[in-house]
């Protein structure tokens, strides 16, 4: 295969995973373009820089010599326009670049509903390195912050501010925290954790109407739709993210919310592909969302596209869904057959409220087939979850072998017997817990 120039717009997890995987499989010339940063960095870790746990250079997952060693060129520029007819990228400084294959991995930008007063100072999202720097700079003058939006970024922002003893009022539109992802019990555990353990002033079921500013043009208060006025000297808007596709307007690439792609990441234009947060599968893959906006899917998109561009007959076939996050001190993990766990499924639910731990094991009521598992404050073994889902294990199998699933640190308090007891009580059965067995756990090796 002749050497091609593969240009990637965006150096996030999708673009970088792609470049890295392509380098493993080919000698193509690879260029990573970003207007945000000179290097790939871990976006989910930005909060730790603000909190003083990491320094900014520690956000880099690869050493500075990685790029040269692997012959991945980097360019710091903003792509203003793409011209597919001439295969040219036009940059904001007037220069241009020719590509053979173009991969758009431009990621997300913060969603906005254009509230009245959103132009005031000290109103920010928390998506880019720029946002991190702005918030860090203003941090000393913040006494009271309002965080708007019940997504992961909102929780991160609340945690960041609480780490500096800044008062946080957290406004969430939904009446149950994270209830698109979490069932009621889990929601209320998180709510309690935020309020009781970390002093967040959480207000559920509240929508923002507008912002009020002071003479200097900075935000002074947030007004809710019910007319309440909440004083603040900072407002964080975290109501979600949307694909960053503004620069594609004149390119002729078909977009909906995101850049429309097929299962091989091909856009409507030849030799142009899209991966990661900015891409929208059309149609959506079975059991998955049309726009997959997380770290892991971005990585998998990149790796799969690298196979395709290097000539392997490959399409994106995600296996079982998984995700994880951390809400203040509580870790959350989920593994399931499909991205969204249907609320029609039955589940075994165990919780220890004082320890802030719970686990929910989903199964099909009629076949008893294991459909997925989610946990707060408990770590689960990915490899085993994934295999059990593939093997269509029954929930009773899962429950009796629950010790194999436990990935908690050593000496952590066990929970398996209590979960099984719960199921036995409900079903009138008498299942016995099996001891952890490494031969079983690592059997695929």
């Amino acid at each position: 295969m002749s050497q091609r120039h593969v240009v990637v717009i965006g150096n996030g997890i999708s673009g970088t995973s792609f470049a890295r995987a392509l380098r493993k499989r080919s000698n193509h010339r690879i260029t990573l373009i970003s207007s945000e940063s000179d290097y790939f960095f871990s976006r989910p870790a930005m909060m730790y820089v603000y909190m003083g746990q990491l320094r900014e250079e520690q956000l880099k997952p690869y050493g500075d010599d990685f790029w040269e060693k692997n012959k991945i060129e980097r360019k710091r520029a903003f792509v203003q326009r793409i011209d597919p007819s001439t295969s040219l990228l036009h940059f904001d400084d007037g220069s241009s670049m020719v590509y053979d294959d173009l991969v758009i991995a431009s990621g997300s930008e913060r969603e906005s509903v254009h509230w009245h007063g959103e132009h005031f100072g000290a109103i920010h999202g928390f998506v880019t390195l720029d946002d991190l720097q702005m918030i860090t700079q203003q941090s000393d003058s913040i006494r009271k912050a309002v965080v708007i939006g019940g997504g992961l970024i909102g929780v991160e922002l609340a945690e960041m501010f609480r780490s500096k003893n800044i008062q946080v009022t957290y406004l969430v539109r939904e009446f149950q925290f994270w209830n698109r992802v979490l069932p009621d019990h889990e929601s209320s555990m998180i709510e309690q954790h935020l309020v009781a353990d970390h002093g967040v002033n959480l207000k559920m079921g509240v929508e923002v109407k507008e912002f009020k500013g002071d003479e200097e043009g900075n935000v002074r208060a947030v007004i809710t739709t019910s007319g309440e006025e909440i004083d603040c000297d900072f407002a964080g808007i975290c109501i979600g993210v949307k694909p960053r596709i503004g620069f594609l307007a004149e390119s002729g690439i078909q977009c909906n919310k995101g850049i429309l792609i097929d299962a091989s990441f091909r856009t409507s234009v030849k030799n142009i592909y899209a991966i990661g947060d900015c891409a929208e599968f059309s149609p959506a893959l079975p059991g998955r969302l049309a726009i997959e906006q997380n770290w892991y899917t971005g990585r998998m998109h990149g790796e799969t596209l690298a196979e395709i561009i290097s000539g392997s007959p490959s399409v994106y076939r995600p296996s079982n869904y998984f995700n994880s996050s951390k809400l203040f001190d509580i870790e959350f993990q989920v593994y399931s057959r499909e991205t969204v766990l249907s609320d029609k499924l039955k589940s075994v639910f165990w919780e220890n409220h004082a320890q802030r731990r719970c686990i929910r094991i989903y199964y099909d009521d009629s076949t008893l087939r294991f459909e997925g598992v989610s946990a707060l404050g408990i770590r689960l073994r990915h490899e085993v979850c994934d295999r059990w889902l593939n093997e269509n294990k029954s929930v009773e199998d899962v429950l009796t072998h629950l010790c194999d699933l436990n990935f908690d640190q050593e000496f952590a308090l066990p929970f398996e017997q209590e979960v099984l007891d719960l199921y036995n009580r409900e079903s009138g059965k008498n299942l016995r817990l099996k001891k952890r067995d490494f031969k079983r756990i690592f059997q695929w090796r």
Binding site: K24, P44, L54, K326, E331, F407
Partner: protein
């Protein structure tokens, strides 16, 4: 709460200030009685009594009042030197005063307020530092939870002024302790009441003092660790374990053994970390104690030959480094605020491997020479003086590396400088851990988000993220199994575990998440 915090800090610093200034509060007067006490039963090789030799020499000093230890120590040393110099020049080694007893002479010559009130001063200093420190962490603990995360904001823990001051202070302390201990004699006076607890006959020398200070540091900072990781049972258990082993095995039990006229042995102190384990004089001494001495001597050998490989095979070297070892114990408690300062670069890793295995070779050769010398009864082995090599090792590695650099550099290079670059026992266990052990840090499928908290908090300078983000288990000779990487991971990706060897090293990992084509990872550097 705020008031209690301020009170505890005030008490701590008042005690610390008094402790530090106590070094300058005594006056010194050499009396005939002290000289007699020290020297009347010591004889030169030619059979002359030290007392008879030194009494006339020391005459100009006797009953002269010195207001600082500096003048006293320098005059005394000058007199000994003046006496010894011509003898050494003439090669008349038999007459030379080999042991000038400077530390004890200085200590026993001190007088004044401090010496008169040692019990009260020491009670205030030690209790003040202990209780003040512990109370401070108790009351600030939960409320201050987040500020403790801010390691890169604190001048103490980000190599700021406070860190450099603390580091310099520690380095100075170790230099004085190892090479000029007489200046610490006021502190030994303060430690005397404690030593008398164990035995009326005994008194504190610099090593008792050091052992006690070591215990205090580990107690206060260990409690800080326990508060910091409240709810995390791995961190709790292991911290309690190192505190227990330091307090009981390194400090109390040897004192009790010594009070019972038994060999004062720290039974968990293993060669080659215990580098003079096989000193001829030590072997003779252990055998002289009879049954218990011989048993303890062979216990150490069995530990090294059987215990270490066996435990390291089953649990990795963490069974020692993070659960038992005194050096590790100090690093994990007092050194915890500095763990992120360890260098994560490839270059540091390379230097680490060269240094630590060189030390292992050095200590092995040195020990071999010493044992052969002892067996043959001659100092020289194949033309090399075993005593000289031993002295070089003791100076370079035993004092400078493990003490001055190993602890003094906590605020500059992280808390495991010695363990990482110098400890020969860690080197030995590292080889076993890397090639024949059940221990690994398992990476959880494809859950890593490359945040880097693991690498940042690795005290051994392992770039944990490099493995985790490619789904690879972490199997490294240097890992001491402190488990902090796992504890700080925000996505539950890392788990320290002891599991069968099969599949432990997965050099060609597949990140779980999709059905893809297997690729050749060798192409990526």
């Amino acid at each position: 709460m705020r008031a209690i915090r301020n009170i505890s800090l005030t008490v701590f610093f008042a005690a610390l200030l008094l402790f530090l200034s106590s070094l300058f509060l005594s006056s010194y007067r050499l009396s005939d009685q002290v000289i007699a006490e020290r020297f009347s039963v010591m004889y030169t090789a030619s059979g002359k009594s030290y007392y008879e030799i030194l009494r006339p020499q020391l005459e100009p000093m006797v009953n002269v009042e010195y207001h600082s230890s500096f003048g006293f120590i320098s005059d005394y040393s000058a007199i000994i030197k003046k006496y010894n110099e011509p003898l050494i020049a003439a090669g008349n080694w038999d007459e030379v005063i080999k042991d000038d007893q400077l530390v004890m002479i200085t200590k026993h010559s001190s007088s004044g307020w401090l010496a008169d009130h040692a019990v009260y001063v020491s009670t205030f200093c030690f209790l003040g530092m202990l209780l003040g420190g512990i109370l401070y962490f108790l009351v600030t603990g939960p409320a201050n939870e987040y500020r403790r995360r801010a390691v890169w904001f604190s001048s103490l823990s980000n190599r700021g002024v406070a860190g450099i001051v603390l580091g310099s202070g520690l380095i100075l302390f170790y230099i004085i302790l190892y090479f000029f201990p007489a200046y610490l004699s006021p502190w030994m006076l303060l430690a005397d009441p404690l030593r008398h607890w164990f035995t009326d006959k005994g008194e504190a020398d610099q090593w008792f003092l050091y052992g006690w200070m070591y215990c205090m540091a580990m107690l206060v900072m260990g409690i800080r660790m326990l508060i910091k990781w409240k709810g995390n049972r791995y961190q709790t258990f292991r911290t309690v374990s190192v505190m227990f082993f330091q307090l009981c095995f390194a400090f109390i039990i040897p004192e009790i053994l010594s009070a019972l006229n038994q060999p004062a042995v720290d039974v968990k102190h293993i060669w080659p970390l215990h580098y003079n384990y096989f000193d001829g004089a030590r072997i003779d001494q252990m055998y002289a104690f009879g049954g218990i001495g011989i048993t303890l001597f062979w216990w150490g050998i069995a530990l090294f030959l059987i215990g270490v490989p066996l435990f390291t095979y089953f649990y990795g070297k963490r069974w020692y480094c993070s659960w038992i070892c005194g050096c590790g114990g100090l690093a994990e408690t007092a050194g915890d605020p500095f763990r992120h300062l360890s260098d994560k670069s490839q270059k540091a890793w390379k230097i680490e491997r060269w240094m630590i295995y060189s030390v292992l070779v050095f200590v092995s050769v040195m020990t071999l020479l010493v044992v052969v010398a002892w067996y043959s009864g001659k100092d020289e082995v194949m033309g090399i003086s075993s005593g000289f090599i031993k002295m070089i090792y003791g100076f370079l590695i035993g004092s400078i590396f493990s003490g001055v650099v190993g602890t003094g550099f906590y605020p500059l290079m992280g808390n495991r400088v010695w363990c990482r670059f110098g400890c020969p026992l860690a080197a030995y266990m590292g080889i076993i851990q890397r090639f024949k052990s059940r221990f690994r840090i398992t990476t959880n499928g494809g859950q890593c988000i490359s945040c880097g908290n693991c690498s940042a908090s690795c005290e051994m300078g392992i770039d944990v993220r490099w493995y985790a983000q490619r789904g690879q288990n972490i199997v490294r000779a240097s890992c001491v199994g402190c488990g902090i990487c796992s504890s700080v991971c925000p996505r539950g990706v890392l788990k320290l575990e002891n599991a069968p060897e099969a599949g432990r090293i997965n050099n060609d990992p597949i990140l779980i998440g999709r059905e893809g084509v297997k690729m050749n990872t060798d192409l990526i550097k």
